[in-house]
Symmetry: C2
Subunit: 480 residues, 2 copies
Amino acid sequence: MLLSQHGKLLVKAIDSNLRPTSWIPVRLLASFAQTDSSFFTPRVNKQRLWEDIHHSCQWGKGERWGKGETDTGMSRLSLSDSDRMARNWFEETTRSLGCTTCIDAMGNTFATRKGRQQGPPTCAGSHLDTQPTGGRYDGILGVCAGIEMLRVLQDEKIESEYPIGVINWTNEEGARFPISMVASGVWAGRIALERAHAIREVGGGKQTMRQELERIGYLGDMEASYKAMPIGAHFELHIEQGPRLEAKNQKIGIVQGVQAYRWHTITVKGRDCHTGTTDFANRSDAMLTAAKMILHSHRLAAKCASLASTGILTLTPGSTNTVPGTVCFSLDIRAGEDGRLMRLEEDLRADFGKIARNEAVDDLNDARTIGKGCTVEWSLDAPSEAIKFDKDCIACVTDSAKEIFGTEFENRTQEMTSGAGHDSVFTSYRVPTAMIFVPCKDGVSHNPVEYCSPEDCAYGAQVLLGAVLRYDKLRAEKSK
Amino acid sequence: MLLSQHGKLLVKAIDSNLRPTSWIPVRLLASFAQTDSSFFTPRVNKQRLWEDIHHSCQWGKGERWGKGETDTGMSRLSLSDSDRMARNWFEETTRSLGCTTCIDAMGNTFATRKGRQQGPPTCAGSHLDTQPTGGRYDGILGVCAGIEMLRVLQDEKIESEYPIGVINWTNEEGARFPISMVASGVWAGRIALERAHAIREVGGGKQTMRQELERIGYLGDMEASYKAMPIGAHFELHIEQGPRLEAKNQKIGIVQGVQAYRWHTITVKGRDCHTGTTDFANRSDAMLTAAKMILHSHRLAAKCASLASTGILTLTPGSTNTVPGTVCFSLDIRAGEDGRLMRLEEDLRADFGKIARNEAVDDLNDARTIGKGCTVEWSLDAPSEAIKFDKDCIACVTDSAKEIFGTEFENRTQEMTSGAGHDSVFTSYRVPTAMIFVPCKDGVSHNPVEYCSPEDCAYGAQVLLGAVLRYDKLRAEKSK
């Protein structure tokens, strides 16, 4: 190990693949390895990390977008057969690296490597499930970087102060079971186990989470709780899923927190009627009304630098020549601060009511298109407050990045707020937490073409490893 | 029979249920039975017709809306098991009334009762399939009124000049197999049999029409063609499916023709992306773009006294936190004249392209909501030109209504254009055709609460019977 084991500032040199070659004095390293402290992190293996990522992506391959072997998206819905295969690989791999593994009642899997002292592990965590048309990096990078961390600790025979762990959280995406981050939410005591177990899958099937956990053999005996499975801290490496790092040619986002979001299901009820024989004045057209609401949600969100999106829409009865009597659509609204988000929601609630009742809202209800009106109901599916991450954890990420980038630190890193929710939102309620972002091509995520280069994956894994080891050391210092 | 069999102007008196009681001289009848010609029509049995309608509705009952036994909608999708039961009843009933039945390769069922002379039958036809959330009168009334016609002819031992027939057309609604009136279209030589047989069901299943015809035993041996199964004329009784008759307290719509319509599937393609991390400027949001198009289609249609409707919308991938990359929606546009409809379509094609490309269209693409743009494609599923019905057939309907309403004829009837397509559209390409409308409550159709009173059903059936017998007589006169 390099933690001044021999009293010398030594690190391993790396080749163009970030592969360690031989021990050399730290001053010979390029800027990549300059440091602003007495702390030296062993190097991750870029090639090995890349291979782990794509090895794990053999299960649940999605749409092909290029000719290369790894040029496909992913479609690994939570608790599917392909998710089971990826989970089995995670368990086997972490065990082979000297970890014990525990599975809780939500299928969350905790791999823990012993430290000098007993205590809750300092963890790297993320998720192996994907969107139905997702990519190979969202979540998967974070788990695989955790595995790479274990490989480095193993290779270098590093003894940490406290245990170090890697976590695979269940159903982070919320794509199959429509509450995202539900399993870290149960672990954090923010979502009731019974409610989580009862979530029914969307997309045609009829199974609940509990049924599917049981079917794939991941309904663990351990209680899903931060009390039954305490951890010391949570670090999560993730692709940015947006364009900001790439736009500035930066390599690391030091995430300060997560924007607030609220997911709703909006139900518009009108009346089915025949498309050919019912003039507009006599219709209660739920689809037209929903279309107005969707457009309006974007207009209002844009006004207050917030976001609004509709990703699911179903209508009844669903026939070309019947005006739909019922439309349900998802409304995902987000803002950097809780107050701003709630004001947006209040405005939308008021205006959706007006749109449904044929009252004036901008030009949406002009006389040409209004009929007899509809009703509208809101149902809150998933609220998530704005999150501020832990100062110590952020400092460990910052120092780890400084070690890599040295004088280039300011140019190559950016403090940012996460636009997306992550399991780190829920862990932050219970333990010190921070996140590390790396760029993804064109800012694209939740899409088969999602891409993070081998170099950027390795940068992220390197910062993760450095942050976890720093936090481990910090815990030891604090306990003295 | 009453056709001056005894050289006297006799009809049967009717009780409050339109039930014939005894033969009486015509001059004693109330205005209901006044006549402007020497032609007298035997009376339909209101109660028996009502019982036939609701007997046939035991198969495929839909949503309940009231406490009465018949207060449910219908959900009898074409070629379903419940449709098979209704078809079996139609065959058995018409055979028991002295008809021979033929089934063609589209499952169209022709029940024919002999006349004095050989020749193609003068027919009453409609359909027994319904929308998924349909009612008890759309189509069903027309077939049951045909059966009531057979019952009257049987009871009164009426010998018509030419054969008289009743037809149950397959999949008129187009709800399960998404080309409406497809089977009369094949019969008329306007839709290729192979294309019709290959139509795949919507709504989750994977079967083709041919597979389902075979499964329920209605893939007939006879060619589906007006050549293999010629008919002499087609009369169709139908509920109006709109509010115009009810608004004027009128009983009979004398239908002059059918408005033109064109059904399209519009495919909007953008790019899937994460809802939390992608700002509006970087999105290609297919759902938002589709919402703008749906709103715009209503605005343009209203401008030119036409109709536009979206009854089906599907999106991909369908996740709350993924902006949809693809949205497909149905667009049903209608107008009284072909030229007006084509101009509307041309305008919509141009404007949908602009909406997708972020060009200005009214206020829809204001800067707040535009992103990187989408593409849009149109696919024409079902065109139907404006139809003018046959003058002789319309005259028979008119005379039949005059017989009933006498001096009240002007007040109780209305000449109208059908807003909806019907099998009569396709029959009109090959044989003289006309339609009769009766009012339905609040103009509602394609909805479980669709309702036509027993009296109005009977008025319609009475006009139908009179029109068919008049046309039979007309054919005989013309052949002399």
